[in-house]
């Protein structure tokens, strides 16, 4: 009986997720009990319940149905994203909230997984192969369309998630190194263009060398190099035509230390919080940094320093370990799944989780620039928790059906 259960129930994904959600709730309680009598904690607990139901549902939907419906989901989310741009409410300077009666939600949280599903569904068709330029272009467009809508909100963090998650997906789907390089290089040039002309030229030279090293034939190298130049130059032109406040937002993003009241200050305080936690931590509700509210809205993006300060190296290592286990488990599901759709989706989920985790924890410890990416399962936020638990449900689904062709 138990062995049968073990065959179809993904213990590992389930318990990793459960442990992370509980750690998240404890941290949110600690960060907010003083500020609004832990109202955020109560709300998040409710969302965890909703997420649990969503997880159960997604783990039972038959794969074929999921595959067939993924384009429908994708279209719906695309429409909502477009509508949000027009009528959405502005939270912290970007239009990403979708209000429905009293319920608010961030459709971009769901756009990530629906895009991965659509991409996987398209590439798992037997007549589609990345070696055909047309198919490659369609696959890239599936990713590019929501990316641009989200960039327009403007939500840079989520755009980055889309971009980074795309790379392992393409790799897993069998794209050559050249394709991966050809996608990376224009972004490198765009980043260089924002920093200055010298940086732009350096990026172009490095890009040219990379393209040459991984070359397949002269024509594709020339096309990729042309695209790189075009992207870099147009970014420069667009930047020069932006409003001063828009330029300032970008420069603050690129150099947070220049804004002492903003993200730079948060990183300093976040490092103090984590560092002062030491080996055992200061104890639940005893973190002075957390309780003195040095970091504004710590329960969202900087939740990792609550864990780090109050539960120390032991607690933070457990969180890191759980996340690493989750990613490796997703990779294992992708590898053992006989079903191409499930396999690709699992890699997409791996990419989404991985980007969030590495960028968020890296930011809290001063390794990465400050971009507003929540930490999966731990950060406060209903849409994000529900979407993440749905993705775990999908992993459980693929695990149960791993032998299905």
């Amino acid at each position: 009986m138990f062995s049968y259960f073990k065959e179809y129930f993904d213990f590992r994904a389930f318990f990793i997720c459960l442990a992370l959600v509980i750690i998240g709730l404890v941290s949110i309680y600690s960060a907010t009990f003083d500020i609004n009598n832990a109202a955020n904690f109560h709300r998040q607990t409710l969302w965890a319940g909703v997420g649990f139901i969503a997880m159960v549902i997604t783990s039972f939907v038959p794969l074929r149905t999921l595959q067939r419906l993924s384009m429908v989901f994708y279209s719906i989310v695309m429409i909502i994203l477009a509508v949000v741009l027009v009528i959405g409410s502005t939270v912290k300077g970007s239009k990403s909230w979708f209000g429905l009666g009293g319920l608010g939600g961030q459709p971009s949280e769901f756009a990530k997984i629906t895009t991965v599903l659509a991409f996987a569904s398209y590439l798992s068709r037997t007549d589609v192969t990345l070696s055909r330029l047309k198919h490659l272009a369609i696959a890239l467009c599936i990713f590019a369309a929501p990316m641009f809508l989200i960039l327009a909100q403007p939500d840079l963090g989520t755009t980055i998630v889309f971009f980074v998650a795309l790379l392992p997906l393409l790799y897993w789907a069998g794209a050559s190194n050249f394709i991966l390089i050809a996608i990376l290089v224009p972004i490198l040039a765009a980043g260089g263009a924002l920093l200055g002309t010298t940086q732009f030229l350096i990026a172009v030279v490095i890009g040219a060398i990379l393209l040459y090293v991984f070359r397949e034939n002269r024509f594709t190298v020339a096309v990729a190099f042309g695209i790189t130049l075009a992207v870099g130059l147009s970014v420069q032109v667009i930047y020069e035509h932006m409003h001063v406040y828009q330029q300032k937002r970008i420069s603050t993003f690129l150099n947070p230390e220049a804004d002492p009241l903003g993200s730079g200050y948060n990183v300093v305080q976040s490092k103090i919080a984590i560092g002062s936690g030491g080996f055992f931590g200061k104890g639940f509700l005893k973190g002075t940094q957390t309780q003195l509210n040095y970091i504004p809205e710590q329960w969202t993006d900087f939740i990792f320093c609550v864990t780090g300060e109050e539960f120390g190296f032991i607690g933070a290592s457990i969180v890191l370990g759980l996340f690493a286990a989750l990613l490796l488990h997703a990779l294992r599901i992708a590898a053992i799944s006989k079903n191409k759709f499930g396999s690709l989706t699992a890699i997409g989920i791996l990419g989404i989780f991985g980007t969030h985790i590495i960028f968020n924890i890296g930011m809290s410890m001063g390794l990465m620039p400050v971009i507003g990416l929540p930490l999966p399962f731990l950060s406060y936020g209903g849409s994000s928790l529900v979407a993440n638990m749905m993705m775990v449900g999908l992993l459980m689904n693929f695990y149960a059906n791993r032998k299905e062709y």
Partner: protein, 613 residues
Amino acid sequence: MITVDNIDISTRRRVLTIIILLAFIILFLRLYQLQLLSHTEFGKKSEENSVRVVVKEPVRGYMFDRTGRLVVDDGPAYSITVTPAMFDTNNLAFLSSLLQVDPALIQARINRGRAYSRFSPVRVVRDIDFKTLSKVEENLYLLPGVSYDVESKRLYPFNVRAPHLLGYCKEITDAQLARSGSIYQQGDLVGSSGLEASYETFLRGEKGYEFISVNSKGQLLGPLEGGRRDVPSKEGFDLILSIDFSLQAFAESLMTNYRGALVAIDPNDGGVLAMVSKPDFDPAIFSGVTSSEVWTELNTDPDKPLFNRATMTRYPPGSTFKMLVAAAGLEEGIIDEHSHITCGGSFRLGRKVFKDMHVHGSVNVVDAIHRSCDVFFYQLILKVGLDKLQEYGNRFGFGKPTGIDIGDETSGLIPSTEYYDRVYGKGKWTQGNLVSLGIGQGEIGVSPLQMAQYVAALANGGTLVQPHAVNSIRNKRTNKLDNIDHHEIPVWLTSEVMSMIREGMRRVVEEPGGTGGLARISGVVSAGKTGTAQNPHGADHAWYVGFAPFDQPKIAIAVMLENAGTGGAKAAPIAGMVMEKYLFGELRRKVANHNSQTHIQDTTVRTTEQGIQ
């Protein structure tokens, strides 16, 4: 064309595993570095930390009058603050005895602040005097969590009140706080009436921040990183007013014993020279703490001192309206300079008789204004009709806001056909309803400000100027003066019509038989018109509108006195004196020429002037 690598799944899995493990090893090493290797350093930092962010209040912008004198200043005010987390409630009684404030009030403020953050100080008492401050300061070592803050408060160096014009600041309400985003914080003062409210965005400046290291007991250790992270506050911008404060003080003194309003404006650009609404109150009572008793007293006073009579009252203008009716009649070709009627002292329409004050005999339009003949206008309005009356009323700015920059104002009322249909029902009103409109009685409502705008248009030869109290703003960043643009709309009267009306107004003041003789200014020709608005609830309201000098007007004025009697006896001398003072810088007329009440007022004038110069 593009090849797909046919490496097998296990290779790809190995590559991705290595990437994942590498990333996590980096994160793990960083964690190890922060929490184990640098633990002592960060632990010390966190204990000392800890950084407190101290908000530096900006200096609120000053106000200068048109002659460049500083009229609204900013001075220090001391507030007592309490940090809820560090305050020992056993000390509450001691603190309240030092401050002489009800302990329940202090407790309530602390509780409110605690709801936001236990660790940010909340102001419990504002603007305490220096003696109380030193008493608290001596005992600070007994009162952990108690501190004080230096803020700014408004000072009014002139002996001028003008509370409705200048406005005042009040502590921000929770609703405003929710709307404003991060600009304001709990306990901030925000302009909530008059110029302080209209120009809040310019006056308030930008807050600064100081980062100060504090140890875990809350003792200050000094600036963080030598103050390199500090952000200095930025001063608010200054307002350069069009008001002449000598004139304002003088006008206020003349109005002291009345309920009413006075508005004097520069007819050339619409700049308000003086604006008085009486009874009023001293704006300084709002500059520091305002006790709830003061509020209740002002709010329940039957004379309504908070109410700005200059912009908010809607009274019929009485005979001061006759120039407008004449303008409509002349401009529309209904009458010309030769048209005349014979006034027999009354006008009969159907069975109704409308009375005049005198029998004026044969009068043309100039005579009718000069001697204020009602019968002439009773007949004229019937020919002008309601629609034209409304059109010309709107041309002169009635029935709509003037657009003045001090906040609330009434639109007033100029009746239209639709209005009468709505009030009386279609077909249920007759020409009889119209007749009294001809002499500015009945269903007309105008504010003294609108009247000043109207008489300014007659003074400057036909331009409706937007009244305003601020001429320019001094930008403290660039130290440049930014002029504010105001609209100017022509009223489209031909110069012949304009000169007939102005001639009538000149005769009102300068010629025998006019009702405005008491407004006469020796040495200068002026023009004007008196009005006495019937009031069903009590004594008549007195009006006077006028301007001077006649040829090159520098000042236009409207005076309205509630229940004071006739305009010629009460309002005209006040208007005359204010214009005289503005044109000559002093009062030339002999005080003895006027009745005893004016005499008393003039004594106050002198003391006021000593206060100014």
